[in-house]
Amino acid sequence: MSDTSYIKRPNRPLQVYAVIFLVVLYTPVLFIPLFSFNDSIYVTFPLTGFTTKWYAELWTRAPVWNALMNSVKVGLSVAVLSTLLGVVAAKAITRHRLPGKSAVVTFIMMPLVIPGIIFGVALLVLMSRMGVSLSLYTVSIGHLIVCLPFAVATLLPRFEGFDPSMEEASADLGENGWWTFWRVTMPMVFPGVVASLMLTFTISFDEFIMAFFLTGTDPTLPMYIWGQLRFPQEFPSILALASLILFVSFFMVFLAQWLGRRGLDEDI
């Protein structure tokens, strides 16, 4: 008998599989930062030399900044709204006797599996029928639908993970629902709220399909990138931009995951 348990014993084939999995998944993505430092407008091997001029050029381009600001505006409002709705939904699901609870949860999670193009077309038809002109507001509505399931999925374990008698204890000690929420519920689920904000911001920031259907005259950053793909001379700058987005997204998602899980085990 080895001194490690059956489950924890190292498993060679499994390790190899995991490595192959990650390599296949991320190698294509790694070409983007690689070519963003290449001193050529053509994305071909062999690499011709190291340069940061694409990043410098990006810095001076006004439409990029404009699109970035649009994406940040949409991302922030979508993050705040979807997290707010997510908190309300998670509290209702975990704390109240809700008829048809599992059906409600299924419907909330549905946008995860319904193709974005269907929601995009549906919203576009709805907006034009209602005579609403396309703008960043319509994009935000589309993003809200995409982000809400992620917000609920992040917050639900937080709400499930703490003893409902905490809230009862607060009521018992004289606090009404409002104060109980701010003095007990919110501090207990706070890491989940931060994680949800970061995750939904990232998703909104990177989202393309909804934006494609619902953008008016102000492009979001992915829409801007899409528009620039027609011009070969712009391509290296787009690679530079994509690399930056990639890096920030990775960072945000990792942070959100870490925050979401932190303290979940010890609190109870």
Partner: protein
């Protein structure tokens, strides 16, 4: 007790969850300053009743009065009733002092006064200087005391305790029982205590309501429950009991009697014997009411038996004794007063022995 001096008065209370009836027409009164226990197995409705007192569940019908006030329309946060939860529900994001002072927000006390009250509570629960500790640094017993302090600092009219000692190990539990009882005498607040542990209820309570199936089977002092159980269920739930079939004998004279299987005719004063001649009854006798002697005693009633099994438990020995005309053996508990008693326990298996008891120690119950 009349309902005029009742501090908590529960009147014809029912509670339904859907079609399931958790509380079935309960009425009872609890006096001010009393240590009152709700005792029963899980699912008997004791916790539901406690949560109704706290305001977390409403009455389906009936009314609960606390200090003369009907409580139906008072939400939990406006009841002058506090609770110690089974899980303690100590807020993990606050330190000990902030946990204890949680309910003081609305009183808007000056900082010094607030601190004084916290320190007073920490002294009361024998954890002075623990104010800055975080909740997750505390042991189970310490959490339990913090939960007590957090409730008591508000000077509630009633303190509700939901199996607060259930999560503690045996030794700590016994220590906390004594502390809890002393604390209740010190603060003089009415305690309503929920437990499934009959020994715990006996140790702590002034009175106990034994519950099953949403009803109160018997409400009595620990002594009353033990010595005069009203039914076979109660007798079995509180301690151990031997049951014998019997028939009432009244021949018109001043003395009545019961003809008990295996034990013979036992004289019973007529005032205890409300049933007519020939009525079937059950006679119950606690194991420790028997005296075991190797030779035939002179006192009556007495019966000869044979030891089938015995167990030496240190301060006492248990015997299972076969007697003529009775199927199940009689359980007898005998104190080991001298060292020789132990030898008796060991040596007597399979040997004849004499049992005797006082006629006053029998309990007469309805026949099954």
């Amino acid at each position: 007790m009349t309902s005029s001096d009742a501090y908590i008065s529960i009147r014809n209370v029912d509670k339904y969850f859907g079609t399931f009836q958790a509380i079935d027409d309960i009425s009872m009164d609890i006096a001010e300053g009393e240590f009152f226990s709700l005792l029963g197995a899980s699912g008997c409705g004791k916790t539901t009743l406690l949560r109704m007192l706290a305001g977390f569940e409403s009455c389906s019908s009936g009314e609960i009065y606390i200090d003369g006030q009907p409580t139906s329309d008072i939400p939990p946060h406006r009841r002058e009733v506090n609770m110690v939860f089974q899980s303690y529900a100590i807020f993990p994001h606050l330190n000990v002092a902030d946990n204890i002072a949680y309910g003081l927000r609305k009183q808007k006390l000056p900082r010094a006064k607030r601190q004084e009250m916290i320190d007073e509570m920490l002294d009361l629960i024998a954890l002075p200087g623990y104010g800055k500790r975080r909740a997750n640094e505390l042991s189970g017993g310490q959490r339990q005391r913090i939960a007590l302090a957090r409730a008591l600092i508000l000077r509630p009219k009633v303190l509700l305790l939901d199996e607060p000692l259930g999560a503690l190990d045996k030794q700590l539990r016994e220590q906390m029982q004594l502390e809890l009882r002393a604390l209740q005498r010190q603060v003089g607040i009415t305690f309503v205590f929920v437990t499934h542990d009959q020994e715990e209820a006996m140790t702590l309570s002034d009175r106990i309501a034994v519950m099953a199936g949403g009803r109160v089977l018997q409400l009595d002092t620990p002594l009353g429950l033990y010595e005069n159980p009203k039914s076979r269920d109660i007798a079995n739930f509180i301690g151990n009991m031997n049951f014998f079939r019997g028939v009432v004998r009244r021949d018109g004279s001043r003395e009545g009697a019961i003809d008990v299987e295996g034990l013979g005719v036992i004289p019973v004063p007529l005032e205890q014997l409300t049933r007519p001649d020939g009525a079937p009854v059950q006679v119950a006798l606690r194991p420790e009411k028997f005296t075991i002697t190797p030779d035939e005693p002179e006192t009556a009633p007495r019966v000869a038996g044979k030891v089938r099994d015995s167990a030496y438990l240190g301060e006492r020995s248990h015997f299972y004794i076969e007697i003529p005309d009775k199927e199940e053996p009689v359980a007898v508990s005998s104190p080991n007063l001298t060292r020789n008693d132990r030898k008796l326990a060991e040596a007597r298996t399979g040997k004849p022995i004499w049992l005797s008891f006082s006629p006053e120690s029998i309990v007469i119950l309805d026949a099954e």
